[in-house]
């Protein structure tokens, strides 16, 4: 298994997946093997999500008439 099979997921997707994993792991009928896999995946999501939370800076873009966006000046 590669280290992060879910690389490039959005924060929202990761958090949603974490909820799923927790729900599955906390259910009664999960097999040990599956629980271990989920556990491992969960750890990856936690790590990646935390990286996103602590490392990013707000990106503000302006929507142009063309439908494209361009970075806006930093707020004063």
């Amino acid at each position: 298994m590669t280290q992060d099979p879910n690389d490039g997921l959005t924060l929202e997707a990761r958090l949603a997946r974490l909820e799923e994993i927790l729900a599955r792991m906390e259910s009664e009928d999960v097999a040990l093997e599956e629980a271990l896999k989920l556990f491992e995946e969960g750890v990856v999501h936690v790590r990646e999500a935390e990286k996103v939370l602590s490392e990013t800076e707000l990106r503000v873009e302006e929507l142009l008439a063309s439908g494209e966006t361009r970075d806006m000046e930093p707020d004063s």
Binding site: E12, L32, K37, G42, V43, A49, V60, T69
Partner: protein, 444 residues
Amino acid sequence: MSDDALDLFEDAEALEPESDPSEPVAETVEAPAEPGPKVWSVSQVNRAVRGLLESSVEPLWVGGEVGSWTRSRAGHCYFTLKDDRAQLRSVMFAREAQRLPSDPDEGMRVRAYGDLTLYEARGDYQLVVRKLEAEGKEGLWRKAFEELRSRLEAEGLLAPDRKRPLPRYPDCIGVVTSPTGAALHDIRSVLARRAPWVRVVVAGARVQGDGASREVARAIERLAATGLPDVMIVGRGGGSVEDLWAFNEEPVARAIAACPVPVVSAVGHEVDVTISDLVADRRAPTPSAAAEAVVPDAAELLGHLRRTPERLGRALRRTAARPGVEVRERLSRLVRSVERRLAPARQTLDLHAVRLEQRIRRLTAERRARVSGVSGRLDALSPLSTLSRGYAVARTAEGRVLRSVDDFPPGLRFQLRVHDGTVDAEVRGSDELAGGGASAPSDS
């Protein structure tokens, strides 16, 4: 009044007197030597009176009740202003009338500002109204608000079950507001503090003045068309009723109702409720509050994330502890799986993962303590981190752990358990460390 009459009226407005200016009224009356009096044409009289009226009366405010209000197809409004004894014909042309938030009701008390003039074609004198305000605070604004609200309500656009929940963790926030306003500044600073991971896309629009409502509506549509935002904030900072009016008009209301992602409306300060507030999925009292509503707080989220590995570990432990699987089997499988899967990633695991790992090791230790007669194989496996650091455990084919030089007679075949498997080995010689054991030193 027919449209023809209206047109005449407008033409009449533009007319300049065409009579000989050297023929003043006084002289005409005194005109001598002619048989019979000087006869004026009707047009001449009306033109003259109009001139008198327009030149001698300054623009003025007139208060009264509205009567017989009609709006022509061209948008001109005709009505009378009345009190209990008299009435005054009045007109408000389309250019001014289009700024009215709503038409006044019959009998509504208003005040009108304008100029007196004479409509020559009819000989009626009238007030050409430039501004019209209902008496009482926000009269016509309030009326327009209520009218649009009942219309939207009848269409079901204000129904509570139309309100969509906001996404919990949006990646992209759309903002429709003035690109230079205080609202955008406030929204940016709240988002930077609470959720710096989000992407903000701003669609600028004029938020007050003629056509602002359509501009805001268009910005909402353009932003939605990009497919980027998970949620939108539409709004502006506080202002007068008139300043906020664009958000009480139909185009904005319709655009919000049609928006494919949830919309948070944030117009003005706490007290101002607008139509867009009513149509939106969520109303925020201020732009800052809207920003707070659309994103979770980073600190809270981090706390939540930090608790997650613990929860995962707890769940795993519960699963491992479930009856039904033979305990030793369960333990060995657990140990092997965790070892195999976590070892390669170990170096990159952050603090949380390390904590998790510790939980798992503790879990295995607890299990082990409760199992009597655990095999040597299991014993060899349990100090997982020791093995992965490069240590190995030697044991016999039967699983007995070899701890001392004395356990290794020359020629003995045994196994080395390393972190990811076993290695077959054979003793070729041994050398006891000085002082390393109880046996007598050997010099081989």
